[in-house]
């Protein structure tokens, strides 16, 4: 098992119930519970923000509107407003989920809570995110351009086919390793420092953690959006 398993120490999976009528188990990992909490927080705030929308936004509606408007504007700068509308929901979900996952590792003392494991410091989870991006490139690309999507593997020259395939395959690998490496490394440093000197010293590292968490969520989303932009580009 990975080093972080030993560091956080909890039993993983936390629950391992048998699926009724079969002999298979459904392991509920610690991170799954954290992930559900994040999903709940996002969904509940979203419902609260949009349940009773005002023309002049206040409070939580304002926060959500600001986030959506800003992020969609950002995608618009990369792929144009029309495509930002199409692919924005996917990209925004990536960003918000990764951001909250990253920040969940920064809550002091949260590691003591049962079932609380920051999801993004695990390669399986970042790989899950990256595979979603990888598949979405194909899904959006084929949906936008049909079979013509595969033409770009032979561009600009046919003999670059193998390079293009490698490039495409490296994308999810680099996405997941980047996210995992940065968050895991930063959290490990904070953890070790907190073990050695509990007070004050970890504080600047926490600030760094906030920075890293935001930057990595941003970089992941930025790369995903440039990949999707490239896959859905119209050639005439």
């Amino acid at each position: 098992m990975s080093a972080e398993g030993g560091h956080h120490g909890p039993i993983d999976p936390l629950f391992n119930p048998v699926i009724p009528g079969t002999e298979y188990h459904l392991p509920i990992y610690n991170f799954v519970i954290t992930s559900w909490v994040i999903i709940l927080i996002l969904t509940i705030t979203a419902i609260l923000a949009t349940k009773n929308m005002k023309r002049f936004p206040k409070g939580i509606q304002n926060v959500w509107e600001y986030a959506v408007e800003g992020l969609f504007g950002f995608y618009g700068g990369i792929m144009g407003e029309e495509r930002a509308r199409k692919y924005g929901p996917f990209l925004t979900t990536c960003f918000l989920y990764i951001l909250l996952c990253n920040y969940s590792g920064l809550i002091p003392g949260a590691a003591m809570i049962k079932g609380f494991v920051p999801p993004t410091n695990n390669i399986s989870i970042t790989a899950g995110m990256s595979i979603m991006v990888f598949l979405s490139i194909f899904y959006f690309g084929i949906r936008a351009k049909g079979i013509g999507f595969f033409k770009h593997f032979f561009q600009p020259m046919a003999f670059l086919f193998i390079l293009n395939v490698i490039e495409e395959l490296v994308r999810p690998v680099s996405l997941s390793l980047r996210l995992y490496g940065n968050i895991y490394g930063e959290e490990m440093i904070i953890g070790k420092l907190a073990e050695m000197v509990p007070f004050l010293v970890p504080l600047p590292m926490m600030v760094l953690g906030v920075l890293t968490g935001g930057i990595q969520a941003f970089v992941f989303t930025l790369l995903a959006s440039t990949y999707i932009a490239g896959a859905t580009e119209e050639h005439h």
Binding site: I78, E167, V170, R178, V219, L222, G230
Partner: protein, 74 residues
Amino acid sequence: MTDDNGYQGYKGLGLIMSAGFTMAASVLFGYFAGSWLDKYFGTKPWLTLIMFILGTAAGLKSLYNLAFPKKEGD
């Protein structure tokens, strides 16, 4: 169209920060994929070498693509 908003700076910053890792991941991917293929076909060390070079080339190409994205309507 892509220059008319204030996000360009953030975009550039993000791409710069991602560039190093993209390059490293390409090279490593080439190396590991090559050694796996070598083991599968028993052609050690040729495929490792070829894939290593291809991975490096792919990394360079993806950096180029990040720096000069294809423009709409090309």
